[in-house]
Amino acid sequence: MPSENNLSFEEAMTKLERIVEKLEEGDVPLEEAISIYKEGMELSKLCHDKLKSVEEQLTQIITEDGSTESFSIDEED
């Protein structure tokens, strides 16, 4: 399922949520349920990985001239 790797965290979560709901509703035929389950597990792993492996994002500021600079606050005070 290589396409799923391109999903954003949000998309993956949304898909996962839907899958969970669908499975919990119980109306899915057994054979389909197992394939949905498989997909759900992969999505869950994807989300999990995304949360786990993220580096901290930069904070930036838009300057007067419209360019973007990194911004840091004085953590002190």
């Binding site: 954003s8 965290f9 949000e10 979560m13 996962l16 949520e17 899958i19 969970v20 499975l23 919990e24 119980g26 057994l30 349920a33 197992i34 389950y37 759900g40 597990m41 869950s44 989300c47 999990h48 995304k50 949360l51 786990k52 993220v54 901290e56 994002q57 930069l58 904070t59 930036q60 500021i61 838009i62 419209g66 973007t68 911004f71 606050i73 004085d74 953590e75 005070d77």
Partner: protein
């Protein structure tokens, strides 16, 4: 005028009160005047008179409305009040019930705020249906505020702590003073123009009403309203709402609060993912278990566990019927046999032997009777005959001969009574008692008639 209806004072007063209450122009009116006769009751309610050079009106402000007042009213103070006019029935006086009060001077700002708020509200800028939902997992969070100061620091710290994967883009803006409103509005427009920001926090730290005023301006309100990006307002004031707060898609009481609303907590997210995973597993497991149980139930069903019941009862039924067949047939035949036996018994009882015997008896009797009757008849005849024969014989004239007499007969068988009847040599028969003598006449003598007898 005798028919004239008289009103009670109470009824009249009620009528007048209703008139006051029904008039929209006496609702939420702003009145400017000077306070006199100010009294604050221990309960917190304020009673005073508002006056100007030409008139006066009684005023009441209940403690529930005085709580957020930032000044203490006193006699001689010029104020702007907002309130409703109504009639106090017991005294028949009309009064203004004050809901808000500002010192006059600031009063103009307040009035402007109220008017703008009312206009924008009417226009629908505050309407709930126009509020945009916040993204659940924003990639980039735009922050419009002063790049210096506590607000920006609170926001960044909070976001980095909660959601390190979120990118923060600060759009610096003036948040105080004449240029603040256009600066904020411009920043909002810029954020929208950039097209990479998922959510906007617009705000500043707390301050006086004048310091916060930019957020009450129409320019800012409209910019917020125009924004495609969902806006969280974060004006650091716990109690008073700015116009921006009303327009924003979500209002946060403080900048820190805004940051918390803007991004999810990463731990929560992780929890959420794990929870979904758990639910996924539980759900599939439950499903599997459910289906297994369902199958088991079927397999454990009576019909499957004891398939012999499908025919055992029928077997019993067949056996029973067969037995009944045999029994009924046997009974039927036994019945017929008994019927025949009993009939045959009756039949045998009526054997004609009896009839024959009776017939024989009768016949014999008859036969015997007939013989006897005949015998008697014949016997009687014989007896009668014998008797008459005896009598006849007893009377026989020939009896004389028994005494030695005999009778002589001529050959013509005539008794010989005279000698003249015979001639010599003629045959004569002499009848004796014990027989007959046949003689021949030798001679004839006599002629004397009495020769023998006399």
């Amino acid at each position: 005028m005798q028919e004239q209806q008289y009103l009670t004072v109470n009824a009249l007063t009620k009528y007048i009160k209703r008139k006051f209450d029904a008039d929209p122009h006496l609702r939420d009116i702003h009145v400017r005047g000077e306070i006199s006769n100010f009294k604050q009751h221990s309960s917190g309610h304020m009673y005073f008179t508002l006056k100007d050079e030409k008139a006066r009106i009684l005023a009441v402000m209940f403690s529930s409305n005085t709580r957020h007042m930032k000044f203490i009213p006193e006699n001689g103070m010029k104020v702007i009040v907002k309130g409703d006019i109504t009639v106090f029935e017991p005294s028949g006086q009309y009064q203004i019930y004050v809901k808000a009060m500002q010192p006059d001077g600031v009063g103009e700002l307040f009035l402007a705020y109220e008017q703008l708020k009312q206009r924008l509200e009417t226009e629908g800028l505050f309407a709930a249906q126009n509020k945009k939902p916040l993204p659940l997992f924003p990639n980039t969070i735009g922050v419009i505020t002063s790049p210096t100061g506590a607000a920006i620091r609170d926001i960044i710290t909070t976001i980095k702590r909660r959601y390190p994967i979120g990118r923060i883009l600060v759009l610096p803006a003036l948040v105080q003073g004449e240029q603040a409103a256009p600066s904020i509005a411009k920043a909002i427009e810029k954020a929208n123009a950039m097209g990479e920001i998922d959510v906007l926090i617009v705000g500043r730290g707390g301050g006086s009403i004048e310091e916060l005023w930019a957020f009450n301006e129409e320019l800012v309100a409209r910019a917020i309203y125009q924004s495609r990006i969902p806006v969280i307002s974060a004006v650091g004031h716990e109690t008073d709402f700015t116009i921006a707060d009303f327009v924003a898609d979500l209002r946060a009481p403080t900048p820190t609060g805004a940051a918390e609303l803007a991004v999810p907590h990463i731990e929560e997210l992780m929890d959420r993912v794990l929870q979904r995973q758990t639910r996924l597993m539980r759900s599939i497991r439950e499903r599997f278990r459910f289906e297994t149980e369902r199958l088991n139930r079927v397999q454990r069903s009576y019909a499957f566990r004891y398939p012999k019941r499908l025919y055992e009862q029928k077997l019993e039924q067949t056996d029973k019927l067969t037995e009944m067949l045999v029994r009924n047939t046997s009974r039927l035949i036994t019945g017929k046999k008994e019927q025949h036996d009993s009939l045959n018994k009756r039949f045998t009882r009526n054997h004609p032997r009896q009839v024959l015997t009776e017939a024989k008896h009768k016949f014999e009797r008859m036969d015997r009777d007939m013989n006897r009757a005949l015998q008697q008849t014949v016997t009687k005849k014989q007896t009668d005959f014998d008797k008459i024969l005896a009598t006849l014989q007893a009377l026989s004239p020939l009896r004389i001969m028994e005494r030695g007499f005999s009778l002589a007969y001529t050959k013509n068988n005539q008794i010989l009574k005279s000698v003249t009847q015979v001639k010599p040599d003629e045959q004569v028969q002499i009848q004796l008692n014990d027989g007959q003598v046949y003689c021949k006449v030798e001679t004839i003598e006599g002629g004397d008639k009495n020769a023998i007898g006399k």
